[in-house]
Structure formats: C-alpha cells, structure tokens
Amino acid sequence: MSLRRIFIVLVAVFMAWVVPGEAQTVPEKKIGNNSVLLPAIPRGQGDHCVADADFMRRNHMTMLMHQRDETVRQGIRGKPFSLKECVACHAVEGPDAMPVTVASPQHFCRACHDYAAVSIDCFQCHASRPDVVTDAGGQGGVVRGAARE
C-alpha cells in the first residue's frame, strides 16, 4: 500500500469520526461562567410560590405595594401577595434552628437584594421572620402559613 493510499484512508477515517461528531457535540450552554457570582437564593417551603418565579422576580414589589394599601386602608385580607406569607414561607433556618432575621445575609430577601444592591425598608417596621411561639414546655416553635393567627 502506497503512502498516498494510507493517507487517504486515514483522512477518510478521520472525517468519518470527526464530522458527524461536530454536529452532535454542541458545547453545553452555560448561564454565566465561573467568574460571575450569582445570588444564593434559598428555596421556599412548599411546592410552588403564589406565582411563577419569573413573575415574582420581576413584579413582587409591585404586587406587595398594591396589596399593602388594600390591606391597610380597606382591611382586605387573605389575598396571596402578603409580605407576612412571604416571610413565613421563605424563612431560612439559622444555626440555632430558628428562622434568621434580615440581619443575616442568609435571609431570603436579603440574599437577592444584597446582590442587586437594592435596599429595602420593609423590615424597619415589618417582622423579617415568622412569629416565634413558646409552648408550655418552653420549646420554641415557628408559626407558619394558615396555622398562624
């Protein structure tokens, strides 16, 4: 076998191996890369939020603002966009097994707001964690969701 023939065979084998391979191995799409820090957003409890995550990320502030006026001024309660319910469902347990306050960087709201450099003043007045109740035995516990009030 001449060198030329060997070369042609090698090229054919190489093409057979590489060309279809190129079509199949599209590089994996990455969101960001290792040099970009993303916020560590703790998961809430339950299966799903009161709306899609995309919607909540973009519109939670509007919904909260709208509903707060209805609740405070008209007394409308029980609607889904309640700050109290956000805080209850998205409570993050600290090292003492109790929910952390907004003083902790692990707090759900803070995790993202720190990242986005958006300061909020909700928690100057509102509780940043669910009500903590103590039962007769002195055991602390957290009241959540519908069980509260």
Partner: protein
Amino acid sequence: MSGKMKHTGIAAEFNPARRKFLGAIAGVASVTLAPGVILYGITRSGDARARKPGTAASPDVRWGLLIDVNHCDSGCDKCVSACVEENGLQGHGRPATDPQWIRKVKIHDPDTGLSQSLPVMCQHCAEPPCVDVCPTGASFKRADGIVLVDRHRCIGCRYCMMACPYKARSFVHEEIEDQKTYAPRGKGTVEACTLCIHRVDSDRLPACVEACNDAGGGAMLFGDLKDPNSEIARRVARYASQQIRGDLGLDPGVRYRNLST
C-alpha cells in the same frame, strides 16, 4: 367643669397640660396616670364578626367599646399589659417616650371623695382630628370606624399627636426589632391603639377586652355599634353612657358608663 374643683396630683413626667385636659374631660378634680386596673364586670364578650377573606371593611359596621367604670379596679392593669404583650410594645424603661396605646387614668373628686379608674386609649372618633391634620393622608379612618396610622405614608411629623385631645398616640423614637408579624411598627412613625385590628378582622376580641374578661367578668364590652342586635348597641340604648369630652363633637366610638362627671 366645676370651678371649685382643683387639680391636685399629676403623676405624668411630661406634658401636664394634656393630663390636666383629661381631668377636665372627666369633669373631676384630679388626674393621675396610673398603670393598674382590675376589672370586675358584668359585660359579656363582644360581637366581633369575621369578614370573608378578600372583602373590605364595611361602612355598615362601627366597632366600638363600652367601658363600665364601676367595674374597673384601680389596682388592675391587665388591659394595659395585654396590649403591650399582644402588640409587642415593650419599652425601654423611659415612660416619657415609650409607646403607650392604652393607659389607666385615675380621677378623684375631692368634694365627694369618689375615686375612679378607667382605661383610656384611642377613642376611634367618627370625626377624628388626627385625620384632619395629617399632611400625608397617613392618619385615616377605616370604613368600619377604626382610626389607624398607615405607616407607609407617615412621615413622623406628629401633628396628629398634638391634635388628639385624648393623648392617645405615641411616636416611636427607637429602632425596633422582632415585631409581631401582625403588628408592624417602626422608628419614626406615629402609632396608637388599632382596636387589635388583626384580631377583629379574624373574629376575635381586642386583647384588652379579652384580658379584662379573663380577669373576672369584664368591664369592657366590644362590638358593633351600628348593629341594633349587638350587645353593645343594646346596652348603650338601654343605659346612660358618655363619651369623654363629648362636647368636642368628635363622636368617639369608645363610651363609658358610670363615669362621674
């Protein structure tokens, strides 16, 4: 006010003029701020009715209180401590500036020797002067007659505190942590008795009324003044009661029985 009556002791450390005013309100001689009440009473629990979730407070309702002064013991302050506990009003040991949503007022008539003790809180006026003066619309009266501060709009100017003839409002001077989820409150805003709006909206009695009932019968009756079948409406229709400084025409929703004026 009888001219022969005179003010004697004023225990408050601040703003004696307001206290004096309260003395005038009660039409008796001396006013003493006193934490302390034991309320023995005859009244039953109130007529709180829960609204359906998602519905607004109705103007067909007017929440009110009827307080029987004869059943309010000067040594008892259960209503005050219940309010502090319920709304997370723990102070800093500085009575001049610590928030106070309800207080016990003692009145004494030197002519007859009669001493009485009564709780005074926001009187939830139908024509609230605090709402009139508020420059931002933060002070408002809800449809069911409860006068509130919308802290989202309050700028802390304290005009409402000056306008209130009952000295019912407090200013929050210091940062607060770990508020109750149902009672948000923060530095730089004015606050007052909400009639425990979170309880009323879920068919429960205000904390002070509940504590008073638990203490032995109850001097405080809570209910809907506009519902002719409610216990409070029947009582105010049957027995004489009065509003403190009724002459101001503010039409408070809090009424008192057996107050010696």
